[in-house]
Amino acid sequence: MDFRRPLAALLLSLATVSTAWAESPIRIGWLSSLTGALSSAAVAENQGVQFAVEEINQAGGIGGRKIELVTYDTQGDPTKAVNFAQRLAFVDKVHFVIGPVNSGESLATVPIVAKAGIPNIIIGTIDELVDPKRFPRAFRAINTNRQWITSANDYALKTLKKSKIAIIGDTSGYGTSSAKTAAELLEKAGVKPVFSTLVDPNKTDLTDELAKAKAAGADVVMPWSAATGLLARLLNARGDMGWKVSIVGHPALMAPAIRKLLNKPEYWTDAYAAGYVSMTAGADGKLPAATKSLVDRMRPKLGGAEIDFMFWWVALGYDTVHIVEHAVKKAGGTDPAAIQKALETTSDLKGVYADYTWTPQDRNGFPDVGVVMNLADSFKDGTYRAPKAP
Amino acid sequence: MLEVRDLVVGYGKAAVVHGVSFDVRAGEFVVLLGRNGAGKSTILHALSGLIPKRGGRVTFEGADITAATARKVVQAGVIQVLEGHRVFHSLSVEDNLLVGTYVRSPRGDRSKLDRIYAMFPEMAEKRHDAASRLSGGQQQILAVAQGVIGEPKLLILDEPSGGLAPIVIDRILDVAAQLCREGMSILLVEQIVEKALRHADHCYLVDTGRIVGDGPADTMLGSAALHDAYLGRSSG
């Protein structure tokens, strides 16, 4: 990161104290964990954010006002994220905050941004991040964790028609809470998991856990973990055991990084992960038009070759900036109250990643129909295919 | 052969040895006498390169070894047997001896063992026992043997009698005298005066870090200087 940027921002904010004129830029704070653990999604999202900002600025900005992006690398550390959130709110005096990327960081920063009255585009999946009463200006652009889990549960129960479910979570914060939610939602649907366990994300071997699941009579295994290493070990253990059982779960199951960790490529078959309609090629192998268009426009930026990471993070990042653009245009400025009003009456805003709808009662903008199941091993050029109907 | 000139040694701020000079000639048996705390061991450690010197000059066979490392001193042929029967307890007798050969051959030299076993038959009997199982006297003999196997030209014995029975002391001093007759120079530091003087050619008296007297060994016993150095000046 360029160390002059915060300095410049500081000088700028000093120069512009209490002299906000119409042509002043729209400042967006972007809290991103570009380094440290769990940085891969953030790096991709950053590509989308930067690209959208460039496009808009080249086209003359929003109503003549350029966008100025203030990016901070939180390194996935909640303490740092809080510091940067304070800084965005009080030093940089931004009009919008996007992020942070990880739920753990977001939980810590959202109340701070809310207290400062700044509109916040949320890109974490944990339920607690949005609350129209406590954080009236926090609007979520990504799906919720619940939407992923519901979709995966539906797929296991209704499409695969299996009901003996084994849930495996990891002992990280995300893993424990997701495994719990998954079990709750299944029980609500009238199915009690036959086996449920939590595993250390760095545990070297999952044969034992799978053997127990098998002994319990499971016919589908649902891992809820974002740790690719753990998911790869799960797939390897299944393959090495020679157990024919479907695996249905978290999107990380189809992360391209897993391919390298697998003992054999075919271990990736019969695994399904929650993905997105917008990022799923149809039967004809074609992507939705908006997605296709963004891929084509961005490909030169991304090196020109095939995309080797999940493109939806780029699309999400790209959309967040356009949500800001939409809000400013609709509100006719950057007054926070007007922005809130504009966003909570937004319905069916077309994006690349999804179409968004917020209401005064609901800050979750992502539609349920936006999530679909993908074939885990169908990764190609940043996107996926849907499984064939059985 | 060994010339020590104005040797100064100290710990921290204080000097413990204040400008000591003495000689050991080839084939000579020299004894340094003086009560404990007089600075004898410090002199020996310094000239062996085990602790730093603060001043003075040490030459051996004409070569300056003042700044030499402990290894260089040993390689030059000056080998010291430390006081307090310091052998390596968990190693066997034979392994202790092999460690003694390291300075001459980095892989150990078994061919030298026979000569040592002939010289110290009690070690041959116990060759495979751990050194910790030897008695104090046997450990001291092993320590001497470990020094001898390194083929010194000058063997330094630092108080080999410490805490041992008279018979062992006799044994060690006899060995030292024999080695001396075979051409090795011996520098002995002792508290047990009479026995030491019986074997030695020349004697130096050390007190509070200085040489306070010297002379041929046979003239020293019974001298007032010697008695004073050990039991103080008779004042009453």
Binding site: V199, T204, T207, A211 | I79
Partner: protein
């Protein structure tokens, strides 16, 4: 249950190997280095780098990894031990090795990344071998061979005896013409190579992952303290005990209490037998 036993022994072997590396360094310096686990981490990461990214054959990759480990061990001595031992303040070596361990771990994180990366298959074997898979037997076998080789080294070679001599009485060793500084550097190199070998052998189990180091520093230490500081048999027994305890506790009460259970074992042993199962009691110096 057999599966739990073997997976427990496999990870226990890695702990035991780390404990052996601790012992080798301790013998010549009386220092327990925080970097010990990181030596094994380097073996895993560099092994994966040589084979997967540089495309080398596993055999030269193994030797190159050993060289990296030996170099890292030697560097530990030069940077963190030599100057600090000369000052004879026992606090300092803990600080200096802790600092070096942090640097190594964060350096690898920046260069290699914080995600686990795959470790290549070393022997041609199908993945369906189940419990006969090489990922279990390589670390177990390597550790046993390592311990046996160390014993032979100590018993049969003069250098091994010099290590023992130095660990007992470094001053007397110097009086015998032993260059204790050089010997210590050699022992750190050997420990580094041993650690790297263990990390390499267990690579398929752990993946090439930067955070393995700190875990091994702790768990290797627990194995060492349980088995008894300075004892190689103790290291093996302690490592196996800890690995099995981990595996069975994960099996019976779940994975949430791994560290709690390990440390519980450590505390019980230290309370009942402070010198460890095979250690010798230290006499208090005045």
């Amino acid at each position: 249950m057999l599966g739990v036993l073997i997976t427990g022994l496999a990870i226990g072997a890695l702990y035991a190997a780390t404990a052996l590396a601790y012992n080798v360094m301790y013998s010549t310096s009386k220092v327990l280095s925080v970097t010990t686990g990181h030596l094994a981490m380097l073996g895993g990461v560099f092994g994966a780098w040589f084979v997967t990214e540089l495309g080398w054959h596993p055999v030269p990759a193994l030797f190159a990894s050993l060289a990296v480990g030996a170099f890292a061990g030697w560097l530990t001595d030069v940077i963190a031990i030599r100057r600090v031992l000369a000052r004879s303040d026992e606090h300092l070596w803990l600080l200096s090795t802790l600092a070096l361990a942090t640097i190594v771990q964060q350096g690898v994180a920046l260069w290699w990344g914080t995600e686990p990366k795959p470790f290549p298959r070393l022997l041609p074997q199908d993945f369906t071998a189940g419990l006969a898979d090489q990922k279990y037997w390589l670390p177990i076998g390597t550790t046993i061979v390592m311990a046996a080789a160390l014993e032979l080294f100590y018993r049969r070679t003069l250098y091994g005896k010099l290590f023992v001599a130095m660990s007992e009485d470094a001053f007397a060793a110097r009086a015998r013409g032993v260059e204790t500084d050089r010997l210590r550097a050699i022992s750190y190199g050997i420990a580094g190579a041993l650690g790297a070998l263990a990390g390499f052998a267990a690579g398929q189990l752990t993946f090439a992952f930067f955070a393995v180091g700190l875990t091994l520093t702790l768990n290797g230490f627990i194995a060492l303290a349980v088995g008894g500081l300075g004892s190689n048999v103790g290291a093996l027994v302690g490592g196996a005990a800890l690995g099995l305890l981990n595996a069975f506790s994960a099996n019976l009460i779940g994975g949430e209490y791994q560290n709690t259970v390990s440390v519980g074992l450590l505390m019980i042993v230290l309370l009942l037998k402070p010198e460890g199962l095979f250690g010798s009691r230290r006499v208090r110096p005045v």
